[in-house]
Symmetry: C2
């Protein structure tokens, strides 16, 4: 029998308790392992979560239990950096295996945790940290491990995708849809972490590290959220055959790695464009695999608990068969992981959607396109709809592939022109998925 301690009895923690209680039979049938949840620690042990635990299981003293020699596996669902990191390090020091859903912690303090785990010869698993119930981390580390990955692209934040989907379907602007999402419980009271793209950045930092065998300095990940997306840009995207998604992009090309998060236009015909609402998806491209996509519930109590418990059982199997450490924590043997700086944003290339707001007179397009041309930017298509504003007109351009630095410099110059009424909107466009 293996004994498990749960730290953090919130929503996902409650889901984990439910899996233990409802599916013990199927777990035993599949693994032959009897897994017991012997301790559940939370500061709040009075709120009714709708599940009942045997006497003595619930405790407020997480710290004390971490040294209990009867515990084999510690599940950390507290979230955030403190005290989660200290608890995890203490558990590892006491020989416990770790399962966590904490993307922020793994993205920022992963290295420290992994080194401690290596010394203590324990496993650390974090499938639930990315994509909720979708088994993408395991797929990269195990089944697809013979591939060299060129791209890993994801829709990884349910809140953002819910908001963008609503904005797209209703033609609404950002603020009212955010309010609606908050009412429905799909966005936090303070939604900054989600809508600013930080949560997505944590996740793509982890996926990129797993795919490319490199340590990713989270602070280098370019992160742009969805707060600037407007109904008008979604409408123009639609007219041109695109949808706007908050994409997390990891690429390995021309000897460098790109990891970035930003609103991105993708052709409507792409599978990723069909990922709507709170669902998540990850698209992987491997040299033998080709393209593949994994899709599912990106968050929520039940799906995340499924992933957490999948990890718990994997560790259970490893303990039983004496195979702890069978698969390296980050998918590459520790001594094979390299530090590789990310390609600076100025050096990436992309197609770009540019929306200029200009005075309504002749010669404007000529002035804009001249400056673009001087910066090596060529135009792929253009729409110039009738204006509804009294003194300005939108001009929407889609560029061919261009370098980000050139785009930034050109826009700086263009936005200084007296014919330009508002700062130009830029949205990157992805349509060369291999």
């Amino acid at each position: 029998m293996q004994k498990t301690q749960l730290l953090g009895f919130g929503t996902i923690g409650t889901g984990v308790v439910q899996v233990f209680q409802k599916n013990a039979e199927v777990i035993h049938q599949r693994t032959g392992i009897e897994m017991r949840l012997t301790r559940v620690a939370d500061l709040d042990i009075t709120t009714d979560r709708g599940v009942s635990l045997p006497e003595g299981v619930l405790t407020t003293d997480a710290d004390a239990v971490l040294t209990d020699p009867n515990i084999d596996i510690v599940i950390e669902l507290i979230g955030g950096y403190k005290p989660a990191l200290q608890f995890i390090l203490k558990a590892i020091a006491n020989g416990k295996h770790i399962v966590t859903a904490n993307k922020a912690l793994m993205a920022v303090h992963g290295q420290e945790i992994i080194e401690a785990a290596s010394r203590a010869k324990v496993d650390v698993m974090f499938e639930a940290a990315v994509g909720g119930g979708i088994p993408v981390i395991s797929a990269i580390k195990e089944n697809l491990c013979v591939n060299r990955f060129s791209t890993v692209i994801g829709i990884l934040n349910g809140t953002c995708n819910f908001i963008l989907t609503k904005m797209t379907n209703q033609g609404s602007d950002f603020a009212p849809v955010l309010a609606e999402a908050q009412q429905l419980g799909y966005a936090e009271a303070d939604p900054t972490f989600d809508i600013a793209g930080v949560d997505t950045a944590h996740k793509i930092a982890l996926l990129s590290a797993l795919c490319f065998g490199t340590r990713i300095d989270f602070n280098q990940v370019y992160t742009e959220g969805i707060t600037q997306i407007s109904a008008v840009d979604i409408d123009f995207a639609n007219q041109m055959g695109y949808k706007i998604k908050l994409l997390a992009i990891g690429k390995q090309c021309d000897g460098a790695i790109e990891v970035r998060v930003h609103p991105t236009m993708i052709p409507k015909s792409y599978q990723l464009a069909e990922v709507d609402g709170v669902f998540n998806a990850v698209r992987l491209s491997g040299d033998f695999l080709g393209p593949a996509m994994l899709y599912g519930s990106g968050a929520g109590m039940a799906a995340t608990a499924s992933a957490v418990m999948g990890d718990v059982m994997a560790i259970g199997r490893s303990i039983c068969s004496g195979a702890v450490g069978r698969t390296p924590i980050m998918g590459y043997c520790q001594d094979q992981i390299v530090d590789q700086p990310l390609r600076p944003m100025s050096e990436i290339t992309s197609h770009y959607y540019l929306r200029f707001t200009a005075v309504d007179c002749t010669g404007v397009l000529a002035k804009i396109s001249t400056i673009l041309g001087q910066h090596d930017i060529s135009i792929q298509s253009m729409i110039q709809p009738e204006s509804h504003a009294p003194d300005s007109v939108p001009i929407v351009l889609m560029t061919h592939e261009a370098q980000e630095a050139n785009i930034v410099n050109a826009l700086k110059e263009i936005d200084l022109l007296d014919i330009i009424r508002q700062p130009t909107r830029l949205i990157r466009v992805e349509h060369d998925l291999d």
Copy 2:
């Protein structure tokens, strides 16, 4: 170092050799294991496959090498029943672990292989048997193992999906598109196995066994191919908001298991409806996971080789860590797998698309709907387009949920009416995916 023998140097075998040759470095970085391909056996060792092997590796004598004590893992890519089964059983008897892409063999003779492997304490893996490069088998057995699955639904045959996609996009009938698929190499010279649904049935038998923990008698799997699908049905489906796909369906509901393969109408808005061309996808629904979908290349040299080699490395890891048998071959402990008869087709319920071909006179719909009503079948929607045939008119009905036996009996009765000119076409409709 671990040594591998490959049986069958065809297309996928060549892909496997390429993985060994091109990606040895990344495999070593990820696993720390040095894996060598020491023997490749095929009856034909003279054809140039575009890869070169060291002297002494290639042999025509597969059988002799199976007893070589230096070989740890045997990869079987011969396909079919004979001599693949004999080779595998001999390899197992000699303590070799098995990786195979052979769905027919696993679906029909899996039990014999698994029992032999259990006795010999070796692993048998077959990820490449279903869905090409998509890691679905492993997901069911490992990451998602804490779930009770209610449905597993797949598009599992690239040939059929290519043909149906072409028919849909071009408005063509079956025969010319099949010919085109054969020219392009997407269909075999004798395509029966694919287009009759047999290949799909092998795959869903395996997936259902893995999901539901039961032995599936392959002969009980209802199997209907795509040869009867016509452009006219695809067009009506489209008008009503549906696409026609060859779906493989495994369901566990009301205490019984259904496993069936047939052309199926699904709403265009479903993710599965977007799976086009030679791509495959599997949609799983688990009690905690909720719905999830895995999508990717369903066949082809490279993607299938990726899956084969994923299995080879998993076994390699298990050998190195002493964890052979860590995960049961069919996802459930052998003594927990039950024999459960499948629900007979007459007892399933579904929505149905019915296309009647009737004389063009008043009262026809009344007669049809009276008989349907007498068999407890109610109509959800109807379209009656103008006829282009001189003496008959199509009447297209979509039913509410009905029992298959009632539908069959009603159609028998209706098709005997003198107002009916041709046997009625029936296509099942799936739109209650949970």
